[in-house]
Amino acid sequence: MDQFLQALINGVALGGMYAILVLGFSVIWGVMGVINFAHGEFVMLGAYMAWLANNQLGVDPFLSAPFIFVLMMGIGYLLQLLLVNRVIDRPHLVSLLVMFGVSIIMANGLKLIFSADFRRADSSLRGAYDLTDNITLPVTKTAVFFIALAVLGGLSLFLQSTRLGKSIRAAAQNREAAQIVGININKVYAITFALCIGITGLAGALISPILSIAPFQGPPLTLRAFAVTAMAGLGSVKGALGGAIVLGLIEATVAVYVSGIGTNLAIIASFVILVVALVVRPQGLFGGLRPVDATAS
């Protein structure tokens, strides 16, 4: 029983980490129809910033994270202005290729700046908190989980309650109609992209004490973001959380009870859910802003 409870705790905590990792990717895809192939590299960029602040100035990644969020928002805004905005009207494949190019430029750029050595930031929020003799709370991941909840809640509130948030949702649902009613679509896209890159950078800072930071660690994170988003629903905030927790729970429990190949089986199981979801419920398990359909715009 203790082992099951421990696996549940691990799974939910892991889900929180995955949720904040995929949120930016999901909203960019959902609102703008852009598959951000460089997502993992933006996570790494945020993580490197946190590592740098930690290594050079001794700042805890949880303290530098808000500043990194703002900085990454600026980077996102510039990138949208210079690149994404210019290809957004083209077929989806073009923006995907552009972001693929950006991912390679970023990975190699990060290698030039930081070398290919693996890094890890140190945080005072670390180790285990004993709930009972046999059940512990992973301190870092639990902190990330609650921050993820706060960010997801904040973003959800922003999208539901503010005029700008409503404009973003309108742009996602029907771009032409949104323009007809006077929404400045370029401005909406710029803010969406900046916000999402900010959140992605923030996620990078938060995972910097948990995962290794290296220039070429991005692609597996992008793949995970892709899987969670497609499964749970494009641009859906509650979908990002729900999908990530489903994934986290599968990963954290299957390997505990299936001997030898449990970890592999967990990955197969999560992709089976993805494939089934795409076939029977293309709008995602939790309902996204749009279906996973390349022709939808």
Partner: protein, 424 residues
């Protein structure tokens, strides 16, 4: 035009990316380590005194980019160190002639197919005489098959999976200890310390699988019961499920790992679960000072295999002792050698010794000399069996103790006793 048609801009960006990442860029190092460009005069003065009769062309596909770029760079520094040493210490004697060495490098992008293609290119276009291996078993598998097909010798020290040497190849030689023996001395030492039970977790790719299979054999041979064996896919991002299960089994020691990143995950995860096994033996990572730097006290007590350390009591005619080699390497590169670099240097050195012994440059003569070799070097003894594996050199084991990484096994190489159980 760019403004009107964004496709031109995309094409331009992609072209630049393709150019930047292209594996077709080659670099030639004729004894040119980084320090050459810094102008090490001592080396070039010596170099001028020797009038070489010719150049031996050696080729290597190495990872400058991609996930093995750290180890690829270490390997390259190792190869460069050998070439630099040869070219500034009288060259290689072949009969009554003296040759210098030129190494042609290509970036294999940490990709097995690219490594194999570049090996073909080195043989067909660059007409290299010999090959040195890429980094990792995954990349060496294909590259060595190309070398075998073309009857070109490949000497390597950083691809140690057993499966590579079960193919009956005649042209592949490994100076390093083979993967299945990676954990041998460490497990023997842990068993001597009183360990009775163990768990194993490994990445299900060629090298970690060979290490884990070997570990299981060594554990059983030393009377340690294996309570569970778990495999996991590469690029894993969380191992908490595996570690939760292991914690419940209460083993004395944990044996695991695949590559550097996994060491971080295992150590982190054990701490998150409040699990402190009496011993942790992690395949890749603990011998690298950078891991100790990044993980700090969390890594304290963790043991790991090492092919080579500068403190080992090995000595040979070339480079002198292990410590002297380390000193020479430090002068060349401004940093101490990790074992991947020493393995790379030893690969070049084995080739050099075989050429000098054979007195010829043809594949058959040098192969015969390699098979007959019984040499003492800074890297340890080199004596290849019929598979091409150096069976003379035992694997060392290090333990991270208060930021230091002393060798704790085998008996002949250790500088302090294993700390077991780990004091937490």
């Amino acid at each position: 035009m760019l403004k009107k048609n964004p496709l031109y801009a995309i094409f331009l960006v992609l072209s630049l990316v393709a150019a930047a990442c292209s594996g077709s860029s080659s670099e030639v190092a004729e004894g040119t380590s980084e320090s050459d460009t810094d102008g090490t005069t001592e080396g070039s003065e010596t170099n001028e005194q020797v009038d070489f009769d010719g150049t031996i062309k050696v080729g290597a596909a190495l990872s400058e980019t991609g996930k093995f770029s750290v180890e690829g760079a270490d390997s390259r520094r190792g190869y460069d160190t050998w070439a630099q040493w040869v070219n500034t210490n009288g060259g290689i004697e072949v009969g009554d002639k003296v040759y210098d060495v030129e190494i042609i490098y290509y970036d294999d992008e940490s990709d097995a197919d690219t490594a194999a293609n570049l090996t073909t290119k080195l043989i067909d276009q660059d007409k290299v005489d010999f090959l040195l291996g890429p980094y990792s078993s995954g990349l060496t598998v294909g590259a060595s098959a190309i070398a075998e097909k073309n009857n070109v010798l490949m000497i390597e020290g950083n691809g140690t999976a057993n499966s590579m040497f079960e193919r009956g190849f005649k042209n592949l030689f490994l100076v390093a200890t083979i993967a299945s023996d990676y954990t041998k001395s460490g497990i023997e030492e842990l068993a001597a310390g009183g360990a009775k039970t163990a768990v194993i977790a490994y990445e299900d790719t060629a090298f970690p699988t060979a290490v884990a299979d070997g570990a299981q054999e060594h554990l059983e041979a030393n009377g340690i019961e294996v309570l569970a064996v778990e495999k996991y896919p590469k690029d894993i991002q969380d191992v908490s499920a595996i570690m939760t299960k292991f914690r419940g089994l209460e083993p004395d020691i944990f044996v695991g790992g695949g590559h550097y990143n996994d060491a971080v995950l295992f150590v982190n995860s054990a701490k998150e679960l409040g699990w402190d096994p009496d011993g942790m033996l992690i395949t890749v990572g603990p011998s690298n000072p950078k891991l100790a730097e990044e993980l700090g006290e969390d890594l304290n007590g963790v043991t790991g295999p090492t092919q080579w350390e500068a403190t080992m009591a090995y000595e040979g005619d070339y480079f002198g002792s292990a410590a002297q080699y380390a000193e020479y390497f430090q002068e060349q590169h401004g940093q101490p050698p990790v074992y991947q670099a020493a393995s790379a240097t030893a690969s070049g050195l084995a080739l050099q010794i075989a050429i000098e012994e054979a007195g010829a440059l043809d594949t058959d003569s040098v192969r015969t000399a390699l098979l007959e070799m019984d040499a003492q070097t800074f890297y340890g003894p080199i004596n290849f069996d019929e598979r091409g594996v150096n069976t003379a050199k035992p694997m060392g084991t290090v333990q991270v103790i208060d930021g230091e990484i002393p060798v704790v096994a085998p008996e002949a190489a250790k500088i302090r006793d294993l700390e077991y159980p780990i004091a937490n």
